[in-house]
């Protein structure tokens, strides 16, 4: 496929179809509507089914039904809609069902606003539903990366029997960029022998379930799930480290904000200041290892977020008290300008060098 | 009139008595002299010769413990 221009939301749809997604259960909410619209148009052409649910809750439970039947399935929403899906996400985790859930996040709490925000970091990485669970969370920073990660997400979901979240801020959903559909490295995926099949094998009653009423059964169930999490933490952590060697300050930023930080890096270079960037691509598992090697020149970490400060908690855990951890955030739907980051870095360093 | 025979899977009986209400011959009763392994008085029939094999008792049994035969 040649290079073309795509809006983030439609690129997610195209990537999902390329990854073999056959079912999509949607519900409208800004700023992700182009995705269900794209799927309603394109999935039937590719032998799939698009269904608009009565609510986000309906949609995520339809995902539960389809995932339990072994299908590659996706749903998407934006922040308040993802909040509604949390019940279902918890059940999907409990029943170990693979699926991909897209959040093109906007500002909150409450109805918030429709402009891009990163206030769903906690919701995505700490589990917004009940109980002990995590979900792998990918945070793409460009439409090309979105296309690559969506395809990867389906494989990761199937490999570990877990829901996987794509956390793009609204800007990733709405922005237009050039993309190319490369054939991604396919994983060797396990058979879905646990799933309900169209043709029943006699004497093999299958159950899709998250209910373990006896504590002595629930505990090993959770230990098994967390065993998988240990593997995910070892195998699936992804991040990018840029310009960190000898950096005066190392910024930590994901998604759209990481692009702004890159721009700030260039601007700061003109003033002789070296700003590094750690860009988590997986928010869970968080790339703690990226913080292991810090140059002696580095004076502080700077978490830059489109929120009041959520990822900063993980940055502090990763930093383990070694350096000051500073914060710059624009919440509420405001996209920070590179110059604001430049000014913050200069402030940390006590003015221009 | 047809002759019937009912068999109770006694250990599964919960002694709820719904079969008693359904029996047109009123021959089922809870055996107060007996306690099953669950600790209930199980349902039983003494005058089996009066059973007509209608199956009503089994229809009303919520625990699927009744088998009905007719001859």
């Amino acid at each position: 496929m040649e290079k073309m221009l795509m809006k983030g939301n439609e690129a997610v749809g195209a990537a999902a179809i390329k990854a073999g997604c056959k079912y999509f259960f949607g519900y409208p909410i800004t700023p992700q509507n182009e995705l269900p619209e794209y799927m309603s148009r394109e999935l039937p052409k590719n032998g799939g089914t698009y269904l608009q649910a009565e609510s986000e809750i309906g949609a995520i439970n339809m995902v539960f039904g389809a995932a339990g039947a072994g299908a590659r399935v996706m749903t998407s929403s934006s922040s308040p809609g993802i909040a509604l899906k949390q019940e279902g996400i918890s059940y999907l985790c409990g029943a170990e069902l693979p699926c991909v859930i897209v959040n093109m996040s906007r500002s909150g709490p409450g109805l918030g606003g429709i402009q891009p925000a990163q206030g769903d970091y906690f919701q995505a990485t700490r589990g917004g539903g009940n109980g002990d669970y995590y979900t792998p969370v990918y945070a793409p920073a460009s439409i090309q990366e979105t296309v690559d990660l969506v395809q990867e997400a389906f494989d990761v979901a199937d490999t570990y029997r877990t829901p996987v979240i794509i956390l793009g801020d609204g800007m990733i959903g709405q922005m237009m960029e050039s993309v190319e559909f490369k054939d991604i490295q396919k994983r060797r995926l396990p058979q879905k022998d646990w799933a309900l099949k169209e043709h029943v094998e006699k004497g093999s009653k299958k159950l899709i379930n998250s209910l373990y009423i006896k504590p002595e059964e629930m505990e090993p169930h959770l230990q098994k799930i967390f065993g998988k999490y240990d593997v995910i933490k070892k195998e699936e952590v992804r991040y990018e480290k840029f310009n960190c060697e000898g950096a005066d300050v190392v910024a930590v930023a994901y998604g759209t904000v990481s692009r702004i930080v890159r721009n700030a890096i260039k601007k700061l270079e003109e003033d002789g200041i070296k700003l590094g960037l750690i860009r988590p691509i997986t928010l869970w598992p968080f790339p703690f290892e990226a913080f292991d090697e810090i140059s002696p020149e580095t004076k502080a970490f700077l978490s830059v977020e489109m929120s009041m400060g959520q990822m900063i908690d993980d940055v502090k855990i990763a930093n383990a008290g070694r350096l000051p951890v500073e914060f710059y955030g624009r919440p509420g739907g405001i996209v920070p300008k590179p110059i604001e980051v430049v000014d913050k870095v200069k402030e940390i360093l006590g003015g221009a060098k | 009139m047809a002759q019937g025979k009912v068999t109770f899977r006694e250990d599964r009986c919960k002694g709820c008595g719904l079969c008693i209400t359904a029996c047109p011959k009123q021959i089922i009763f809870l055996d107060k002299n007996k306690i099953n392994i669950q600790g209930y008085n199980p349902a039983t029939v003494e005058k089996m010769e009066e059973c007509i094999g209608c199956g009503n008792c089994a229809l009303m049994c919520p625990d699927l413990i009744i088998t009905v035969e007719r001859f």
Binding site: E54, G65 | K14, P62
Partner: protein
Amino acid sequence: MSIVFERTRGMVDMPLHYCPGCTHGIIHRLVAESLVELGLMDDAVCVSSVGCSVFTYNYFDCDAYQASHGRAAAVATGSKRVLKDRTVFTYQGDGDLAAIGTAETVHAAARGENVTIIYVNNAIYGMTGGQMAPTTLVGQKATTSPNGRSAELQGYPIRVCEMLSTLDGTAFAERVSVHNPANVRKAKKAIKKAFEVQTAKQGFSIVEILSTCSTNWGLNPTDSLKWLEDNMIPYYPLGNFKTPEEN
């Protein structure tokens, strides 16, 4: 000597967890017998709900899901869209279906989702201890309507079959009861018909079965049957509300 009645092979041979005299057991049996007699048992997919019937998946000898509270119709939708040739049914109580799951139920019906809903209405929340249900009768006492349900304060009970039969997507809706052998026979006919509607891909089918709750009604099992007949049937009239036209 011939066997007129024996345990259906559609149910796993294990004791049911229901209280003595709870008519859930009768309804389970009718569902299993219907599926076996229609030759659908092996292909069936049961979606269990939350409420007293939460363990339904253990009892039916077929594949199953355990759905979250109220969402069984949505789970069934997702499942049936993938497993188009299997017989997908939910088994839900009145709290699950007619309170928290109202939206999922109404919209599955409106879409004409080709699934069968087995809806057990006993006018009370059994699992959580006898609270007022969306189907609790006016005047009926429950732990959250201690003086009896008041229409002024708590509104009116929902007649699900009547409501759903107004929707074009609903192909079959019938209300039955299991308070005596004659009605148990009729209930089975309705359940069988509902599954046949699904097999014929005619759309959404629901059977509402009036059921008892001796424990939370505070009546012995025999008196419960009588209470159902005297109090529930007048408000929830039995009968067919919708059936596909024969062609």
